[in-house]
Every structure is written in structure tokens, then in C-alpha cells.
């Protein structure tokens, strides 16, 4: 069975090797090249000794954590709604979740420029309510980046949760009610463990996507909030320092990889995996 399946997976394997693993290996090798043409860890040493680079690295990881937190706060009520909905309503919720993904990430980001801008609806509403004395822009700050990224990445959290919940047995809730559990107890002891594998999978996707989302970080954050993707672009596109950019890219890969590996390990925990 395994042997006969090889031709079907071969194109995907070949594409992954040629389009991902080989370039990644080249990138990794490049990151060890020093300006004189030799090999060493000079690019990494320079990066880790640069306070600005370290600040950018931690800002990027914290940005990912903040987006994961906000998407979770926004996503869990929708997931609960999905759990309680009937088949038609569930289809509608899935459709509405997928709907923003039919529009390009770039278009959605530029739409937020209008929403958060000086003449945008947020500014105008606050002005009309007398909360701000004159129109002001809500762009170019980290809160805006977190809000926009959370809206853009929300489907990546919701879809795995919905996939897990659609397979869960509703009788578990009935059993808990029969045993006298209240709504909060059911949510905490039954629904949350049921959804946990989906939540963890969603966290991995949201974290990876938020930390590497060049367009949204650059357009909404402006040049005053620098994250690693912009830092890499600057090294390549302005300074032409490919080895240094490769080293930063490897650090970004490693740091997001560590977080994702931790989340994946958590998802394999016996108590959570048992519900998957």
C-alpha cells in the first residue's frame, strides 16, 4: 500500500524539496558566509550583539503573542456560537469565516488604512461623540498592527477549532448537564478540552503568519515599528547584505520554530490529545 502510493505523493515531495528544503539549505549555508568569502558564525554574532536587532527580534515575537491572544479572545465566542448552532447556521458561520479570505491580504490591509485613517470612520465616530477634539489617525502604532493582524488571521484560528468541534460528540455536554454542571463548568471542563487541539493548531498558524506578515506590519506599523520581515527586506533590498539577511531569516525561523514546536508538543499532551 505504502509503495503504491509513492507516485501520488512524489510531485508534492519533489516540489517541497526543490521549492522549500533546497532553498532553505542554501539560505542556511549563506548565513555562515562572511564578507571576505570565508565561513563562520560572524553574521550571527553581529546580529546577537546588535541591540536594535535584538529589540526587533523580541518585538516580533511579542507581536505574535499579542495577535494570538487577541484572536483567541475574539475567536472563542464565535467557536461557542458554532458549537450551539444548527447545521444551517454552522454552514453560515463557516462561510462568513472564509469570506474575508477570498480577498487578498494586501487589499484587506489597505482597507484598514481607510478605517483607521484621519478621515476614517473610527476617527469620525470618536469626533462626533466628543471623545477626541479633532480628527486623528490611528495608524502607525503597535495596537493598530495587532488589531489588523488579528482581524486578518482570525480565520486561521477559527477553522481548526471548527474542524475539531464539528467532530465532537454533543452528548458529552448533555452528560455533564445531567451530572449537574453549570454553563461555565461545561465550557471550562468539557468544551475547552474538546476544542484544545484545534485552538493549539490555530495558535501555531496565527503565530507563524502574524510574525512573518510583511505587508501588514509595514503598511499599518509604518517605518517606526520595525519587525524582522522588514529588517530582512532592508538588509537585502537596501544594504545588499544577503548573508546577514540570511542569518536574520534563520533566527526568525528558529525562534518562531521553537514557539511552534512548544505548542505542537502541548497539543500532543495525553490529556489534550485524548480529545482530538
Amino acid at each position: 500500500m505504502v509503495r503504491s502510493g509513492i507516485p501520488f505523493v512524489a510531485p508534492m515531495v519533489a516540489l517541497s524539496v526543490a521549492g522549500f528544503l533546497m532553498p532553505l539549505a542554501v539560505l542556511a549555508a549563506f548565513s555562515f558566509r562572511d564578507p571576505a568569502g570565508g565561513f563562520g558564525v560572524g553574521n550571527y554574532a553581529k546580529l546577537l550583539a546588535d541591540p536594535l536587532a535584538l529589540e526587533v527580534l523580541f518585538d516580533t515575537l511579542f507581536l505574535g503573542a499579542k495577535v494570538v491572544t487577541l484572536t483567541t479572545l475574539l475567536g472563542l465566542p464565535i467557536a461557542l456560537l458554532y458549537w450551539h448552532a444548527g447545521p444551517r447556521q454552522r454552514s453560515l458561520i463557516v462561510f462568513l469565516t472564509l469570506l474575508p479570505m477570498l480577498t487578498s491580504n494586501v487589499v484587506r490591509t489597505f482597507a484598514w488604512i481607510v478605517i483607521l485613517g484621519r478621515q476614517g470612520p473610527v476617527s469620525q465616530m470618536l469626533l462626533q461623540l466628543g471623545i477626541i477634539p479633532f480628527p486623528r489617525s490611528f495608524l502607525f502604532n503597535e495596537t493598530a498592527v495587532v488589531v489588523v493582524l488579528s482581524q486578518i488571521e482570525l480565520p486561521l484560528l477559527l477553522l481548526p477549532i471548527m474542524a475539531v468541534m464539528s467532530r465532537a460528540d454533543r452528548n458529552l455536554v448533555s452528560a455533564a448537564q445531567t451530572l449537574g454542571a453549570g454553563p461555565w463548568r461545561i465550557a471550562w471542563s468539557v468544551l475547552l478540552p474538546l476544542a484544545a487541539p484545534g485552538i493549539l493548531a490555530g495558535w501555531v498558524l496565527v503565530f507563524a503568519s502574524a510574525t512573518t506578515s510583511y505587508v501588514t506590519q509595514a503598511v499599518i506599523g509604518g517605518a517606526r515599528h520595525i519587525y524582522l520581515p522588514q529588517y530582512i527586506y532592508r538588509e537585502v533590498g537596501v544594504l545588499f547584505q544577503w548573508p546577514s539577511a540570511a542569518a536574520i531569516a534563520m533566527v526568525l525561523l528558529a525562534s518562531t520554530g521553537v514557539v511552534m514546536a512548544a505548542l505542537a508538543a502541548l497539543a500532543r499532551h495525553p490529556r489534550l490529545a485524548a480529545h482530538g
Binding site: 512524489a10 526543490a18 481607510v114 502607525f140 517605518a223 517606526r224 537596501v238 545588499f240
Partner: protein, 345 residues
Amino acid sequence: MSLRPTRRSVVAGLAGLAAAPFVASRSARAAGSIVAAAFPGSWEDAYRATVAPVVKAAGTDLVLAPALAQDQLARLLATQGRPAFDAMMVSPGQTTEAISRGLIEKIDPSRLKNWSKLLPAAQTEWGPNVTVEITGFAYNPRLVPKPRTYRDLFDNPVYHGKVGWIGFGSNTATLAWVEIAKAFGGSEDDMSPAFKMLAEHLNKGAVIANSGNQQMALYQQNEIAVFMSSVGNVANLKARGVSCEFAHPTTGSPALPVALHLVKGSTNAEGVYQYMDAAISADVQRKLALPPTEILPTNTDVPLTDSLKSFISDADIKNLIYPNWAKINPNRAAWSAEFDRVVKK
């Protein structure tokens, strides 16, 4: 026939897949086509609509690859020996870099029919200049008065919080920063006064964008009312109905010639010559001088349109500033890093 794969068939299949992109690429290039990098947006659109048909008529398919000048250099550096483009479109800052890094070749002007029609200043041994971009201030007359000097933008409170700035990745911005440095006592190789002013100005609401395109998007949303711009960008915005005017700094407008270069290692030099000849021909430049592109012609047979004359007078042309890129380029990386340090919150 058995569908069960053997090790040999799997290896052959994988090898075939791996070779496919190279086979396709070779056949596409062998068919008389060239890949030319062009500035994204209005330049790319205009060249696709105006230059490509002329090159096609000469027997070459022109494939335009949108990329900013610095991006073009970065991509060529990444693909040395097998260049991603046959021709590049850049300004003197990148030309100097491309020459010093051995990325472009000198051309043979005798292979260009329209060479003799070019302004003498547009004839360089590394390729023809297809225009001179004149840079200064783009401003919204409904929101701010006309800026006159670079100092105005810092000294006059009416501009505070309304000016968009970008870093040294952009040629236009680099020229503006050099002029700002000079205005405050610096020079082409001393940027410290400009960084000092920028640091002070950040507390007064300076908007720092990531790119020229982002700046134009912010301008259209009234987030900023002034930005450092070429005449072409202002013409483009005006043609779209946006309230935008161009102002020449009284200290002189920095000029940015735009040149086409033959990339070293190109497999179709003849096609590149056809492309260059089309781009400097009178017919093409006459069309590109019209709105919305309004690209200043370098072919002497093409007169300035009335619209272009409204942007640039003879006095303005005499007052153009041609910066010394040999002094600027060695500092650009350090300035770029310093810019990030100054603006980082």
C-alpha cells in the same frame, strides 16, 4: 502494464520535475524574448502599453518585471552568472553600484538607430537615459501652503505632522535627505544634521512610511499633505483627480536621470538593443510625455508638452542639482541603518 513504480522510474520522474523549470526557461528565452526590469506602477504600465509593441514589431517579446531600482540590484546580486533580467532600469545611484559590482556592460551606440537623437547628457557609455526625473515637493494646496525650501518643512509649524518621510531605500528620498543635510550645515557625506532634525521632528508628528508607494497611498487618504516626490508622481496623482501640486525647492531641484542598462550575462543582447532603441525613439517618448505618465523626453525630436512646461520652466531646468553619487553611495548603508535607529519607537 504495471503501475507499480520502480526506483528507477521514481528517480527519473523526480529528475524530470526538477529539470522542468530550467527547460521551460531556456525555451522561453530562446524564442527571442527579453526580461527587462522596470519601476512598478505607472512606468511598468506605460512601458507595457507603449514600448513592448514597438519591441515586438522589431522581433523581440518584451517581458517586463516590476522592481524598484534597489530591488533590481539586490536580485542581480543574488543571481550573478544567471541574471534574472536582460536589462535594468535604474538611476545613477544604482548605476554606480552596478558598474562597481560588474553587473552591467558598456553598450555599442552604433547598434541604436535613435542614439544620435538623444540629448548629449542622455548618452552614456553604459546605456541611454530615457528621462530625467525632477524631484521636489508634492503638496496638497487645500491643506498646506506651497513649501519653498527644505528648511520650511522643519521650521514652519504649519507643516508639522503633515509631512511624509521615507528612508534611504528610495533615490528620491536619499536626494531630499542630502539637501536637508546641506540646508542645516551638512554635506553629501555628512548626514548628521539631517538625523538631528529628524529626531527632533519625530515628536512633532512626522509620518514615517516604508516606501514611496505607501506614501502615495497615505497622501490620497489625506494622512499626509507633503512628501518628497518626482514630477511624474505628481502628474500621476493629478491625472487621477487628486489635489496635488509640485513645488521646486528654491535651493534647486535634485535631478535623477533614469537609464536602461544591458545586464552582463544576458542571453539576448540584440533584444536588449531593440528595447533600448524603442525606449529612446521619438514615437515612444512622445506618447510617454502625455498624461498620465508625463515622462520628460530625452529625444531631441520630442517637444515638451504644455502640461510638462507647467511643471518645469527653463529657469527650473537651469537650477537642477546633479548629486555626486560617488560620495553618497559609500554612506548609504550606514545612513539607512542610522535612519532605522532614529525612527524606531
